[in-house]
Amino acid sequence: MQRFSGLAVALRRGAWGPQWRAPEPQAAYDAVIVGGGGHGLATAFHLARDHGMSRIAVLEKGWIGGGNTGRNTTIIRSNYLFEESSRLYDHAVKKWEALSQTLNYNVMFSQRGVLMLAHTVHDVQVFQRHVHANRLNGVDNEWLSAEEAKEFCPPLRISAGMRYPVLGAALQRRAGTARHDAVAWGYARAADALGVDIIQNCAVTGIVRDAAGAVEAVETTRGKIRTPKVGVVAAGNTSVVMAMAGVRMPLESYPLQALVSEPIKPVFPCVVMSNTIHAYISQSDKGELVIGAGTDAYISYSQRGALHVSTHTLEAICELFPDFRRMRMLRNWGGIVDVTPDRSPIIAKAPVKGLYVNCGWGTGGFKATPGSGHLFAWTMAKDEPHPINAPFTIERFRDGHLIDEAAAAAVAH
């Protein structure tokens, strides 16, 4: 691997080779990861690095990072309500803090702080419950008055005459954003250096099981590949892939939209989220305002959403930040998010031997990427979950042990 550093950039003057190879698929691998998003690539990286597995392939039907990894609003935080969740997401935040060094790839993790606005008495109760729960679990989260929130984020409007006044906000200072594409590329480069084959334009079209029902191979658009272990990390397409093994999932896939403004000089120092009126906003290092919109009401694989969903979000943005009303939307896009009934992910063994699934991150899995890859690799390698992901099974939907973050916060960015 060509090492990246400022010095190397100066010396090489652009004489760089490929960041990863473009290998032909081999006939067999020890493990196959379906899906070359951040989670899939991170899983492959950890399988290779931590578990000494060398023959690993990541199969990506399009281009790596082209799924939700490449289309999210990059909000990273760990101030979730339930202990299981905050442990899971904080595991990831800790890894984010070292990720550029781990990968030797600058993923631009920016701990600029995430403010979650409370607009009603009920919001205040809910967020204060989060603050208390997080503090007990060692996760930073603090309560700000409306005035303190405005000081932290000057463009925020907090006047009393608003339709939904700002009553205060929960602030996680360690939270922030990262450069989404770099996460996929950084993991790909690091995994490739450990010998992982990253195979793009290779869609998995079937999962072959042996007489005993165990996974034996995958069918792909580039031929059949034998493997005893298949890890499905296909986000919005999980139901489709799992159906290939005859497994029905507790998932629905919805279009989720985001948009950016034209780039402007820095005006927005942090990340602001309002679950009550559906506004999620930060400013990228290039200058665009990055804004998250909602999901459409119906399941869809169209990777775009309806106009009224974006307009609804911009109404909220203009209400909270009336200075931005003359700003202009530059580009809007959609992703396909796979949503579980309790809005918490599944990182688990599937009910088929040799089949593992990491899905259900819905509107909020980018933040979990480094942790998720680590835990899923563990689960695949040892054939049993790591204690952190042990609660995130498929069976919880049979037994009723839900981890219902949805009940506490409408959306989980």
Partner: protein
């Protein structure tokens, strides 16, 4: 005089109306009809911006919405100044103030240009490779630096004072683009009787016809056609960009209504969003000229040839004195000849092709122009404006040609943006060297240049056929089957860019400073997919979204990968076509139009009393009624004591109400709620708990049986729509055997709760026809009768633990009844109380609030409502789920009361509960409600605690930032545990 470069006559500007404006503080004069770009060019100004990354000086590339360079901030003051507007689209008006961007201290001398010197280190993706050492460096040094360099313009710094409007509209045929193709389509469709809308992003309809000399046949056709369209009732929308195309021909248009006016009518919206549902759409969006790739192709004075022609013919300005025309297409010749005729000295036509069409070359030579076939441009010179270009001849040797204008004619790229947004396929057309719409079927009809038809008469025919076909497909009677017979004529031949041989930086994406080298580097580093190259180099990601750069970038990628453009593919076209203001998309939704504000019939009274309100779903509810300078706690304490000691009145009108009527009403409720309802007597009420099918509490409320076949069901305020929707769902799809109908009566009845030991004496004189004695109207009963003379329903219920009544009266009569109650109550010391007091009173009694004690993870048993569950019922919604393993776990959280050691200490709602002081201790639960109880003289709290009912009497800890607070677990009823006061 409106500038030294204004030609004596011609163009569509109004020479009788000079317009004064300023740019970077200097005053200039233009003419009505000018864009800011044409007015500046008329004044000889070409340096108008700095590029994003290298801060290179930039001028005008184009004359329309595809402009990548000339972005300016327009408008005076902090609130209205708008960044990143294209000078080529901004119409000048008297007093317009414009400013250049992304430079400091000035446009001519910009310190940021130092980046240009560092360019070798700033190649594509350099930041992923650097800034990682030392590990704290990113956060403390590099990121702040990078962030400071971000962005182009400055955001407005005060709230936008303007307003925006929106409109839905339907039509048979929507025509996008009003060039010759669009206009002839609109005319044909209108003649067939269709309801037609035609829009164009430009200030005038006409498209490329606006460049025609006045008096020419085509100019005359334009004038005639506009009149005919108006007469046919076609809705014509200039300054209106079709920016988004969605499924089923749903098209979003943004109209700039007042932006071009010096003194707009303040009632007019600044912009308007049109949401069009069109049966058929004709896309006649034209084509965009391509730049050529050569070193120094970004210097001010390097311009698209077609744009130069537009400046000359439409605006009457000469974009320069001496031009070198560089072309890889036939079109460069036409532009060169036209410009020469318009008084521009054309130094030469440098054709990159070895063998230009002989006829064209001859025509150019006949016009006195020099043609240099097989040329290559090795570079341009000049600092803030082009001074000359080096041309290498096919015959060998290169020469410096002095010029202040380099015009590029790289062929035209059909504008397929909207077609592709509609999720339709494009195919690569070798002749035009561009992607064109794949089919002309369905309900979307590309026409004219946007499908590669370039020759004007063919365009007119193509448009007319598209319009007629669209009308026919919209089911309008047309005499004969309409056919599309015009073939995509590649009038010009052009190939997308190849890498130049000459050294030096050649720009592909002008705004984002992406060079040919960046693209080559990306491919070399393994970013092979077109989408990867886009993201690694940012080509096509600037505010112009690659309108002029994308196709050239594809050519370069194909070359680097040694393949062809169709194998490279193209990036995804997304809305908006050009940027759209947030305000336009948000429309009128601000303040009280952001979301409806629902108020009860008593609201005005409460407001007059000085009530403080809180938001609960869309409702405003009175939270407390402070007297004089009371704090909330003081007011609440007074209100609580007033209710317990005497009587209080509370506006409960926001409670959801559903009238459940029909012979099977009781059976229906029995299946929906956990409680039994069949045997509930007429005139009796019951507290009902509603679960989701997964067994968790969704809602609760009191349900009264008004008649054998009629129930009055109440829900929580926020839950009303949800509960009704869920009931309809079960009724219509699962229990459709039942003869029951549901009607929302939330707003029919206002609800006045009168609570307290003196409640009966207060209401007694107001009630007619109902015996309200304890025996006749026991707790949990309901009667119909007259209250203050109007038909009402009187419930005897209590959410306070006191003797209580809820007067349901018609909403129109509510204030009258309230006034009567209030007047009667004065002798009894009546207080008006709000939701906060209501919360305290019910907490003292241990009554839950759905959403506060419950959070979607709570079963009836968890909150001590196991008694309500009709265990004998074979089924109800959620019953089966209660039998799952997790629901029987003894460690489930259960509702308990908590008492603090220090009586005055009020716990924080949401605070966590632990068993001990050890490190790593785990949460046992949390405080759901906590108040100071003025009646009891100490604080009370409700909490959900793991295995809580088995912990009665235990001491637990509540960790707080200042230290743990010790609490004792008690039963969740603090006041009147025997429940005798309701009988009062």
């Amino acid at each position: 005089m409106s500038g030294a470069f204004r030609v004596a006559e011609g163009g569509r500007v109004d020479r009788a109306r000079p317009v004064r404006f300023s740019f970077d503080g200097r005053a200039y004069t233009g003419l009505a009809g000018d864009t800011l770009a044409s007015a500046l060019i008329a004044n000889g100004v070409h340096l108008v911006g700095r590029s994003f990354k290298y801060h290179r000086p930039r001028g005008f590339l184009a004359a329309g919405s595809e402009e990548p360079n000339a972005l300016v901030r327009v408008g005076a003051g902090t609130a209205r100044a708008t960044p990143n507007l294209r000078a080529t689209q901004v119409e000048v008006y008297e007093g317009l103030v414009a400013e250049s961007q992304n430079r400091s201290p000035s446009l001519a001398f910009d310190l940021g240009a130092i980046n240009d010197l560092a360019a070798p280190f700033l190649s594509a993706g350099f930041y992923y490779k650097t800034f990682m050492w030392p590990s704290w460096g990113w956060k403390r040094i590099y990121e702040p630096l990078i962030r400071r360099a971000a962005g182009l313009g400055r955001a407005p710094e005060a709230p936008d004072p303007d307003c925006y409007a929106q409109r839905y509209v339907h039509c048979d045929v929507l025509v996008v683009g009003a060039g010759p193709a669009g206009l002839s389509a609109a005319l044909a469709a209108a003649e067939a009787g269709a309801r037609v809308i035609i829009c164009d992003e430009q200030a005038e309809l006409g498209g490329s016809l606006l460049d025609e000399t006045p008096g020419s046949a085509h100019a005359a056709w334009l004038a005639r056609t506009l009149v005919a369209l108006a007469q046919a009732g076609v809705r014509m929308l200039p300054r209106t960009t079709a920016f988004g195309m969605f499924a089923q021909n749903f098209v979003a248009l943004a109209e700039r209504v007042t932006e071009h006016l010096a003194a707009p009518d303040p009632r007019q919206p600044r912009e308007r969003l049109w949401q069009v549902r069109a049966r058929q759409v004709v896309l006649a969006a034209g084509a965009i000229e391509r730049p050529l790739i050569f070193p120094g192709n970004d210097r001010p004075g390097v311009m698209l040839a077609g744009a130069a022609r537009t400046y000359l013919r439409r605006y009457g300005v000469r974009p320069g004195a001496r031009a070198l025309v560089v072309t890889s297409s036939d079109e460069g010749y036409r532009s060169a000849i036209d410009l020469a005729q318009g008084g521009v000295d054309v130094a030469a036509i440098a054709d990159l092709r070895a063998q230009p069409a002989a006829a064209l070359a001859d025509a150019a030579r006949a016009a006195g122009l020099t043609v240099l076939p097989g040329s290559e441009i090795e570079g341009t010179s000049g600092r803030l404006r082009v001074r000359g270009a080096r041309v290498r001849r096919a015959t060998g040797g290169s020469a410096e040609i002095a010029c202040d204008l380099v015009l590029m004619a790289g062929g035209r790229t059909p504008s397929v943006h909207l077609f592709s947004q509609s999720a339709r396929k494009l195919s690569f057309d070798e002749a035009t060297g561009a992607f064109v719409p794949d089919d002309a079927g369905g309900a979307i009809h590309p026409a004219g240049a946007c499908r590669g038809v370039m020759e004007i008469d063919a365009v007119l025919r193509d448009g007319a056929q598209a319009g007629a076909l669209a009308a026919q497909r919209a089911h309008l009677p047309t005499s004969a089957e309409v056919l599309r017979t015009v073939a995509a004529t590649a009038e010009v031949t052009a190939v997308p860019a190849r890498k130049p041989h000459a050294r030096g930086r050649a720009f592909v994406d002008f705004q984002n400073d992406v060079t040919t080298k960046d693209i080559a580097l990306a491919v070399r580093e393994g970013f092979v997919s077109v989408e990867h190259v886009k993201r690694y180099t940012t080509v096509g990601m600037a505010t112009d979204q690659g309108k002029t750069s994308n196709i050239n970038a594809l050519g370069l990628m194909a070359e680097a990968r040694d393949t062809a453009i169709p194998q490279v593919g193209h990036t995804t076209f997304r809305m908006p076509y050009t940027p759209v203001s947030f305000g336009t998309l948000a429309g009128a939704a601000r303040g009280n139009l952001f979301d409806p504000v629902r108020q009860t019939p008593i609201h005005a009274w409460a407001e007059a009393q000085g009530a403080v309100f809180e938001d609960v779903s869309l409702w405003k509810r009175a939270r407390y009624f402070p007297e004089r300078s009371e704090t909330m706690h003081q007011a609440v304490a007074r209100e609580c004591l007033g209710v317990r000691a005497g009587v209080g009145v509370f506006d409960a009108s926001t409670l959801g109400k559903i009238e459940v009527v029909g012979p099977d009403a009781a059976v229906f409720l029995e299946r929906m709620y956990v409680n039994p309802f069949r045997k509930l007597g007429v005139g009796r009420t019951r507290y009902g708990v509603l679960l989701r099918e997964d067994g968790f509490i969704l809602d609760d409320g009191v349900i009264g049986r008004i008649a054998a076949d009629r129930f009055h069901v109440t829900t929580t305020t926020g839950g009303a729509p949800r509960v009704l929707a869920m009931m309809e769902d079960y009724l219509q799809t699962e229990f459709s055997d039942l003869r029951v109908w549901l009607t929302s009566t939330t707003e029919e009845w206002a609800v006045i709760a009168v609570q307290g030991p003196k409640a009966r004496e207060v209401i007694a004189p107001l009630v007619e026809g109902i015996d309200i004695s304890p025996a006749a109207l026991p707790h949990m009963s309901v009667r119909e009768g007259r209250i203050c003379g109007v038909k009402g329903r009187l419930f005897r219920v209590s959410f306070t633990g006191e003797l209580g009544f809820e007067l349901n009266v018609p909403a129109d009569d509510a204030q009258m009844v309230w006034d009567a109650v209030w007047a009667r109550g004065q002798d009894a010391g009546m207080v008006a109380y709000g939701t906060e007091t209501m919360h305290v009173l019910r907490a003292e009694k241990g009554f839950i609030i759905v959403g506060q004690e419950t959070d979607g993870t709570v079963t009836p048993d968890d909150v001590g409502l196991g008694w309500a569950v009709g265990a004998a019922k074979p089924d109800f919604v959620g019953k089966r789920s209660l039998a799952r393993a997790a629901m029987k776990d003894p460690a489930r959280k259960q509702l308990v009361g908590l008492l603090t050691q220090a009586p005055a200490r009020v716990l924080e709602e949401g605070a966590q509960i632990v068993a001990d002081a050890s490190a790593g201790r785990r949460s046992l639960g949390h405080v759901t409600s906590a108040y100071f109880s003025a009646c009891l003289g100490h604080s009370v709290a409700l909490a959900m605690v793991s295995g809580g009912r088995a912990r009665m009497g235990e001491s637990l800890l509540v960790p707080m930032p200042g230290g743990d607070v010790t609490v004792r677990v008690v039963a969740p009823v603090f006041y009147d545990p025997a429940g005798e006061r309701v009988n009062g």
